[in-house]
């Protein structure tokens, strides 16, 4: 197809270029804002730091490609965590290892040289909460972490392949269990 008016052709080319640049800016901004959150979420899923960093970058690249294809994403943060979750699980499955939720955190919290800014009482409290989180089922933990990342129930449900009402139930159980662990421990 040829354009008879060269100005028209140039306008179209420039419009498309501008749109691309705007989209790149938009995704780059999102990347800068949320990459650390995504990275930490992927660590919680059991990925190693290099894997988590590579996967976090991959997530934003996919976001760019998806938006470039003209697909609409109503909640970018929900989408980002959904894709990160799926990608994280896939990578973890390749490792064929299910790592416990940060097993070294308790040791770090107990080490006064590392956590000198926190009072003993506060550290004990965090250790209890940490143990409580460790005792949650995987699904309860995932719902909790995604909620802490600011995702709404339907978004969490979409990421985990469960209904929003199941998300509510997992969260309720998780919080009930954490309260029980914290209050019952000496």
């Amino acid at each position: 197809m040829y354009f008879h008016a060269p100005e028209e052709q140039w306008d179209e080319v420039l419009r498309l270029d501008r749109a691309k640049v705007t989209l790149q800016d938009k995704v780059t901004r999102l990347y800068e804002e949320a990459r650390d959150d995504v990275y930490r979420y992927l660590l919680l899923l059991g990925l190693t730091p290099p894997q988590a960093q590579e996967a976090a970058q991959e997530v934003f690249l996919r976001l760019y490609v998806t938006l470039s294809k003209g697909e609409e994403i109503h909640s970018p943060r929900g989408w980002i965590f959904r894709v990160a979750h799926n990608l994280g699980l896939k990578l973890r499955a390749k490792n064929s290892a299910q790592l416990p939720f940060d097993p070294e955190l308790e040791a770090r919290l107990r080490d006064p040289d590392v956590s000198h800014e926190q009072s003993l009482l506060e550290r004990e409290r965090w250790i209890l909460l940490h143990r409580g989180i460790e005792s949650l089922s995987e699904q309860q933990r995932r719902c909790l972490f995604l909620r802490m990342e600011g995702l709404r129930y339907p978004e969490i449900g979409e990421a985990l392949g469960i209904s929003a009402s199941s998300v509510a139930e997992f969260l309720r159980r998780a919080i009930a269990r954490l309260r029980k662990v914290c209050h019952e421990s000496p």
Partner: protein, 537 residues
């Protein structure tokens, strides 16, 4: 959200309210203003959430390992992606353009559909696939030839349910599709090459949320297999998933199961030996597949040690094995299970540590004395002679209903795994074994129901329960009766928990005045349904 002004908020409602997910939240907030108890509970919940967030900020985030390298600038990769997108086939670009330009679609849909149809026709003649299916398949076959062979664990489903091995095998054989390794580029290519006429389609990265992949779809009228798709990884050319549409059949989906989570695995000596390193995976064949009868005998062996009741043990039969999984099983119990089924053909045991448990301890249903009282508590206390007697009654009922639910669950599982069609195909000795198992569950249920009846009926009547003599429905077979029994038992269990103050009424529960009557009616109905569960002599 009815009756929120008069009843307390449940924990779930409070959480939803805190998260802005509760419909009718204005009403709930009005209740919070009026009710000190709920307000205190709500503030406690908010405090717990605050505590979690402080934990995340102070304990987890500062000590999480930092990214090992500086964050990359993604712009060069965006530009590479732009170049890739510009090379997409015309049809794909047109579809993307239509989907993004015309929203909502209702107004433009007819014109868009017509134009897309025309574009598709033109595309077929004009823009042949940039990448041919055969080229990709041959690359995948070559890659597979140099890859170290390993046994694949396949999940094969028909119409969303686990497929019957023999039936599926027959379909593949009839379509001349190599059944020995159905999820492979080789098998697909061999079938593809046989077809004299076909339409092929190659889609790059069909799902933006998955890893880079090729999707190959072939449609033909010259085979019993009228459409087959194969998803190939672009990283290593492995076949990830396939769907197979046979004429007049429900869709068959085959996918490779992910590597199993860390678990203690005990393969039995009697199971077929795993393939030697470097040797091709043992093809699934009829002789190497466990039958429903094998599964039934394993179920019966577990039943003999009551491992089908209450223990978090699951049985799953696939083409290659009967997998028994258990979560949080104590060592002694594992040993008993191993002894009971370890030597049986095809059995593989996998036990996971308690940390991976997905359920709360059963004690979570225990009703603590600090729970808020149900409207019947005072009446029950008076009638039974004080708080200790009420606690004892509560424990008796909860223990009995717990046991009943375990039995009902085990029986329902039996009914689901051995529906009528499978049951009739079993040899006589297996059918007798199924009858025996079913009979034992039914007898245990009868006994438990009698206990609950004896303990609860006088109490319910004293609460003015009016029995409604609605007869239980006549169902076609014991499998359907089991399903109905389970649903009714679950409802009864829920009603008892509400009556005894362990839960608040939900939208499906009867009003407070009707609760004792409904409980009594459930008990009667369960007794009738229970009779249909017992095998006829």
């Amino acid at each position: 959200m009815s009756r929120l002004e008069t009843r307390h908020l449940s924990q779930e409602e409070m959480l939803k309210l805190a998260d802005g997910e509760l419909p009718g939240s204005a009403q709930a907030r009005a209740h919070l203003e009026a009710c000190w108890q709920c307000r205190a509970d709500f503030e406690e919940l908010q405090a717990s959430i605050g505590e979690l967030i402080r934990y995340r900020k102070s304990a987890w985030q500062p000590y999480a390992p930092p990214p090992p390298a500086p964050w990359a600038d993604l712009r060069p990769r965006f530009q590479q992606a732009d170049a890739g997108l510009a090379n997409r086939p015309l049809f794909t670009r047109l579809a993307g353009w239509f989907s993004s330009t015309f929203r909502p679609p209702t107004r433009w849909a007819p014109a868009a559909v017509a134009m897309l149809a025309m574009a598709a026709i033109i595309y077929q003649f004009w823009d042949t696939p940039r990448v041919e299916a055969a080229v990709i398949l041959r690359k995948a076959v070559d890659a597979a030839a140099v890859r170290p062979a390993s046994a694949k664990r396949l999940d094969i489903r028909q119409g969303g349910r686990p497929a019957e091995p023999a039936a599926v095998e027959a379909l593949f054989r009839a379509a001349h599709y190599d059944w020995r390794n159905p999820l492979s580029a080789k098998a697909y290519l061999d079938w593809f090459d046989q077809l004299s006429q076909k339409q092929e389609e190659v889609i790059s990265d069909p799902d933006s949320a998955s890893a880079p992949a090729w999707l190959i779809r072939t449609t033909t009228r010259h085979s019993e297999l009228v459409q087959a798709t194969l998803l190939l990884s672009r990283d290593d050319w492995q076949a990830l998933e396939g769907t197979f549409q046979f004429r007049g059949q429900e869709l068959i989906r085959i996918r490779e199961l992910a590597a199993e989570p860390a678990a203690e695995t005990l393969s039995t000596a009697a199971a077929p030996p795993p393939p030697a390193a470097g040797a091709p995976a043992a093809p699934p064949s009829r002789t190497a597949s466990p039958s429903p009868g094998d599964e039934l005998r394993v179920t019966a062996a577990l039943h003999r040690i009551s491992a089908d009741l209450g223990d978090p043990v699951d049985i799953a039969r696939s083409f290659e094995r009967i997998l028994i999984t258990g979560v949080g099983i104590p060592a002694e119990r594992r040993r008993q299970i191993q002894e009971a089924v370890g030597a049986m053909p095809f059995v593989e045991l996998q036990f996971q540590e308690p940390a991976a448990s997905s359920s709360l301890p059963s004690a979570s249903r225990r009703i603590s004395s600090t729970r808020r009282a149900s409207p019947f508590q005072q009446q029950l206390e008076q009638q039974l002679g004080g708080r200790p007697a009420l606690d004892q009654f509560t424990d008796l009922i909860l223990d009995a209903t717990d046991q009943m639910m375990s039995q009902a669950h085990a029986l329902r599982r039996l009914a689901e795994r051995f529906p009528r069609a499978v049951e009739t195909s079993l040899p006589p000795e297996d059918r007798a074994l199924l009858d025996k198992l079913r009979g034992e569950h039914a007898a245990a249920l009868r006994e438990l129901l009698a206990r609950i009846h004896a303990d609860a009926s006088p109490v319910l009547r004293a609460l003015s329960a009016q029995p409604s003599p609605a007869p239980a429905p006549q169902l076609q077979d014991w499998q359907a009766s089991t399903s109905r029994f389970f649903e009714t038992a679950r409802r009864m269990e829920r009603l008892f928990t509400i009556l005894l103050g362990g839960a608040t009424a939900d939208s499906g529960a009867p009003d407070e005045a009707g609760l004792p009557s409904e409980l009594l009616a459930s008990l009667h109905q369960l007794t009738q349904l229970g009779q249909a569960l017992e095998p006829r002599p």
